[in-house]
């Protein structure tokens, strides 16, 4: 696939992610922070998000597996995940965290388990999509092209 085609695919794919609510404007803000002094900034932050989220999801699974569920602890973890997902623009993950916190408040274990499933699902979706996006970007750059996300998104 030649560069222009790849660039078009990239932009269409990104547009779809915004349209379908996977990403929100904070994702564009992340790109605005990236510059020549740190051209890998977005990838770095998103990688941190992946690590952080996986750790939190594991902690949530363990916490819900306990005989006496500590809802405060669970709420604290979900709050963290909500914060991180909001900070990178992962809208659907953030929204699933909001529902999760409601189940925590209601001290509803069943509800929490369902919410955790939902959060896991949304997380895996955005992870796959962002990884695909970054892969495509790499190929474009390797082929001598460039992505001007900021200009396009605005």
């Amino acid at each position: 696939m030649e560069v222009n085609q790849m660039q078009r695919s990239f932009l269409e794919y990104t547009a779809a992610l915004f349209r379908e609510g996977f990403l929100d404007s904070q994702f564009s803000q992340l790109h605005q922070l990236q510059d020549e002094s740190n051209p890998e900034f977005v990838v770095e932050v998103v990688s941190l998000f992946f690590e952080d989220s996986e750790r939190l999801i594991n902690d949530l699974s363990s916490a819900l597996d306990q005989p006496n569920v500590d809802f405060k602890k669970i709420d604290a973890h979900v709050h963290q995940l909500k914060g991180s997902s909001s900070s990178i623009g992962a809208q659907r993950v953030k929204d699933s965290c909001i529902s999760f916190r409601n189940s925590c408040e209601a001290q509803n274990t069943e509800g929490c388990l369902k919410c955790l499933q939902q959060v896991k699902q949304e997380y895996l979706l955005i992870k796959n999509k962002l990884e695909a996006l970054f892969q495509l970007e790499k190929r474009i750059v390797a082929a001598g092209g460039s992505i001007n996300m900021v200009e396009w998104i605005n």
């Binding site: 992340l30 922070l33 510059d35 770095e44 932050v45 963290q80 991180s84 909001s86 900070s87």
Partner: protein
């Protein structure tokens, strides 16, 4: 020191204000650091209130010192509200209680828009309350406020 060099040293500080950013979330710390650095600020980050107080020389116990280099250089403190252990509000109180740090503006940030929380912080002397995640326009606002503080 004559008037001319006095003015330029204030401008020097304002060209590159030193900000202490406190947040328990690693991603948020990274973001706020980049945002501030891109806006010509010097940045120090701390992952919790205790570390922030230690940096400012308000740590307490045998770490406490009345003269602290770090404290005199910090022009602005931005702290998250929800943090385990010491909240941003508790950190704000400690800063306002200290004789040498009480005049440094403290901005509280939060992902949640809770009016009682906001009022509580403002009453305790917070300069501003802002919603996370911060944007360039927020930092611009802060820098304008900072200029007014010194001016």
């Amino acid at each position: 020191m004559d008037a001319a060099s006095g003015v330029s040293s204030i401008e020097g500080i304002m060209e590159e204000p030193h900000v202490l950013a406190v947040d328990d979330n690693l991603i948020d710390r990274k973001l706020v650091e980049k945002l501030l650095r891109n806006s010509s600020c010097k940045v120090t980050t701390a992952e919790n209130g205790l570390r922030a107080l230690e940096y400012l020389g308000l740590g307490g116990g045998d770490r406490q010192s009345s003269v602290n280099d770090n404290a005199s250089k910090v022009n602005l403190i931005i702290t998250d509200y929800c943090m385990p252990g010491m909240t941003g509000y508790e950190l704000l109180k400690k800063i306002k209680e200290s004789s040498n740090m009480k005049d440094v503006p403290v901005v509280i940030v939060s992902s949640e828009n809770v009016p009682t929380r906001i009022n509580k912080c403002l009453e305790e002397g917070a300069q501003m309350f802002m919603l996370k995640p911060l944007k360039y326009s927020d930092v611009k606002k802060l820098r304008c406020q900072l200029m007014q503080c010194r001016g």
